[in-house]
């Protein structure tokens, strides 16, 4: 599907450049209202309200981390139970092998370790990073996206995308520039 769209249109999309967060917020909301779905904003810092304007949310993130923590709990407790009760039982003054309260600290540390590793991998993995090349980097002046400018990209594979109409629409948002970006 995506490959087909790529053949139809040789460009990645149209990218509008703004110089402040109020404009990008308004632009994102307007684009969403105009029906664009395949779009993204590029900002130097997290602009609050922007993902809400884009109606974006990735509910997988917290759940994946939760599952990571749960895995850590099972691995941590299971490891200790298996070692100290089955594989290598140590009799310390006749105390029970399965002395669960003393297994809690290590279980806790394992929950944190697994959840934290999952959290970092989740951010990178779901965002498709590391990714050295991305078409949006071809946008003129895009190096300012990590410094002081704000960009709105509407991708060519969007159902509503039309090179003329979309450009007109973006121009109506009073950007500093609108650029056609190659793949």
């Amino acid at each position: 599907m995506a490959a087909e769209a790529a053949r139809v249109s040789p460009i990645y999309g149209l990218v509008a450049e703004f110089d402040n967060q109020d404009d990008i917020l308004a632009a994102a909301a307007a684009a969403r209202k105009a029906g664009y779905k395949r779009m993204d904003c590029y900002t130097p810092f997290p602009v609050h309200g922007l993902t809400e304007a884009m109606e974006f949310e990735d509910a997988r993130v917290p759940w994946t981390i939760f599952i990571g923590g749960l895995t850590g709990m099972c691995v941590g407790y299971g490891l200790q139970f298996w070692i100290n009760c089955i594989e290598y039982p140590l009799n310390v003054g006749g105390r029970p092998y399965h002395s669960w309260p003393s297994f809690i600290p290590v279980t806790f540390e394992c929950i944190i370790l697994f959840a934290a590793l999952t959290a970092v991998l989740t951010v990178l993995g779901y965002s498709g990073l590391p990714r050295p090349y991305h078409p949006v980097f071809n946008t003129p002046n895009f190096e300012t996206a990590s410094q002081y400018h704000f960009f709105l990209a509407i991708e060519a594979r969007d159902a509503h995308f039309d090179i003329v109409k979309t450009r007109e629409f973006l121009e109506s948002l009073h950007p500093l520039a609108v650029s056609e970006v190659e793949k």
């Binding site: 402040n20 590029y42 944190i112 590391p130």
Partner: protein, 491 residues
């Protein structure tokens, strides 16, 4: 600093604070700033390598010398064994354990600033969290060295971890010493992850700011292709908040587990339920002292007084005072236990602490940790930079003495008189300790030089929040790129 009201000025900000945030009477960013000047002031420390002050080279040189002393001490230790240290029966835990607890405690302030203050929505953390987290990493590295070397055979330290081996032996999970292995290794891993994740967007900024191709490539690799997508930011912020939520109980657990190394034993002076909270408070106390010790010279030398303001130092000092009071309460509680508990051995150890062979270190400890920080009640002292620096030094010394009291004094005067004996650190003990101080400083100074030491995107976000940033302020209104030199004028 001038008083004219130019666009982008943050002297009298219109404060747009989210609900629950602290509204400050003085701003968290002073001077004239916009997104670009923030990037320049912080980023040019790294990109303009010729801009480093002479003090950097002096401190770095001395630290490097000390690192070498540490390496010599390690080599001699590996050759001769732990006998070169002053440890023996009855005091088997000497400097190594004192220094371990001291260093790991210092690390805790970094996590407190980055995680707990994030959860509490304290915006003042933004300008100090990056270097406080770096401080955590390097302090935990120093801490980890000590138990490793104290095992006597560090080349088989992997025996501490559970893994299938030909000896068919496994760790004993009922021992706090094994909990400690898990707690400390989890702590350093999570701290490193937290630190790196926060750095990724800033590495992208550095990639885009750098002009030289190799530097661009280096930062490009570190940034992993970060492009500031709003969707990525959403995932980033969600995960970062969850990581903060995970780090908060972690940091409390780490020092609690460290304190259980002592408290689970039956040694008088160690066997006390107050230990976990009292250790955690002591850790934060020592850690904030170290934050102040590092922040004072760095903000002066690198022209960062606009970002690390007196307000920041003031709040660090207040946290130091609060945790110092908790620690002092801990000392009083210990004395009360010894009397009220009616255990003659506990009473004897407290008597020995006050009047025994190590009495000077106990009373010096009370002076350093209990009495000196009371000066911080005065606003004049908190706003006096040299005084704050000296008090922080005194607190650092005090916290080291506290661990000396706990480790050495409790062990030297156990149940039976036949088991009593004195402990003195040897020259190798001191060489190792001062060596790690050098190593810590060495790493901190490398960090300051090669990594953006203040979180740039969070500062921009903060600037955006505290002042509704005027349109077109960053171009065509006479703001030239000030860089390191001009930033110093504000300072």
């Amino acid at each position: 600093m001038t008083d004219d009201q130019t666009p982008g000025r943050v002297k009298e900000p219109v404060i747009y604070q989210p609900a629950g945030a602290v509204v400050t009477e003085t701003p968290l960013i002073t001077g004239e700033h916009n997104y670009q000047t923030i990037d320049n002031t912080i980023g040019n420390v790294v990109l303009n390598q010729r801009g480093h002050p002479a003090q950097w080279f002096m401190v770095f040189g001395v630290a490097f010398l000390w690192v070498n002393i540490m390496l010599v001490a390690f080599c001699w230790l590996l050759y001769k064994g732990v006998g070169i240290w002053g440890i023996n029966i009855p005091v088997g835990w000497g400097f190594a354990i004192i220094n371990f607890v001291w260093w790991i405690g210092i690390g805790h302030a970094g996590t407190l600033i980055s995680a707990i203050l994030l959860l509490l929505r304290q915006q003042w953390r933004n300008s100090i969290n990056r270097f406080a987290e770096a401080m955590t990493l390097f302090a935990v590295m120093c801490a980890g060295l000590f138990p490793l070397l104290h095992t006597g055979r560090p080349w088989v330290a992997y025996w501490l971890f559970p893994y299938p081996n030909v000896l068919s032996m496994w760790p004993q999970f009922r021992s706090p010493l094994v909990w400690d292995v898990f707690a400390v290794s989890t702590y350093i891993t999570v701290s490193a992850l937290f630190w790196y994740l926060g750095l990724v967007p800033d590495f992208a900024t550095m990639r885009d700011k750098a002009r030289a191709k190799p530097i661009k490539m280096l930062f490009g690799m570190l940034a992993m292709g970060w492009r500031g997508s709003a969707q990525h930011w959403w995932r980033y912020e969600t995960a970062y908040l969850i990581l903060a939520g995970l780090s908060t109980p972690l940091v409390l657990s780490v020092h609690s587990v460290v304190s259980l190394d002592f408290a689970v034993s039956i040694i008088p002076g160690w066997h006390a339920t107050i230990f976990p909270p009292y250790f955690v408070a002591g850790a934060v106390y020592a850690g904030f002292a170290m934050v102040i010790l590092l922040a004072i010279p760095i903000r002066a030398w690198y022209g960062l007084k606009d970002f690390i303001t007196m307000k920041h130092l003031d709040w660090c000092a207040k946290i130091m005072l609060a945790t110092g009071l908790v620690v002092f309460y801990g000392y009083l509680t210990e004395a009360f236990y010894a009397w009220y508990g009616g255990d003659r051995y506990e009473f004897a150890i407290m008597h020995d602490r006050w009047f025994g062979a190590y009495w000077p270190s106990y009373w010096l400890l009370i002076l350093c940790n209990g009495l000196t920080p009371q000066l911080l009640w005065s606003k004049k002292v908190r706003y006096n930079v040299p005084a704050l620096f000296i008090i922080s030094l005194i607190v650092s010394l005090g916290m080291w003495l506290e661990r000396f009291e706990i480790v050495v004094q409790s062990l030297h005067h156990e149940y039976m008189p036949s088991y009593w004996g004195m402990y003195y650190g040897t020259i190798w003990d001191y060489a190792t300790f001062f060596g790690t101080l050098g190593f810590f400083t060495f790493m901190m100074f490398l960090f300051v030089r090669y990594v953006p030491m203040i979180n740039m995107f969070e500062m921009k976000d903060l600037l955006n929040r505290i002042t509704h940033f005027p349109r077109h302020a960053h171009e065509g209104d006479g703001h030239e790129e000030p860089g390191l030199g001009a930033a110093k004028e504000h300072a």
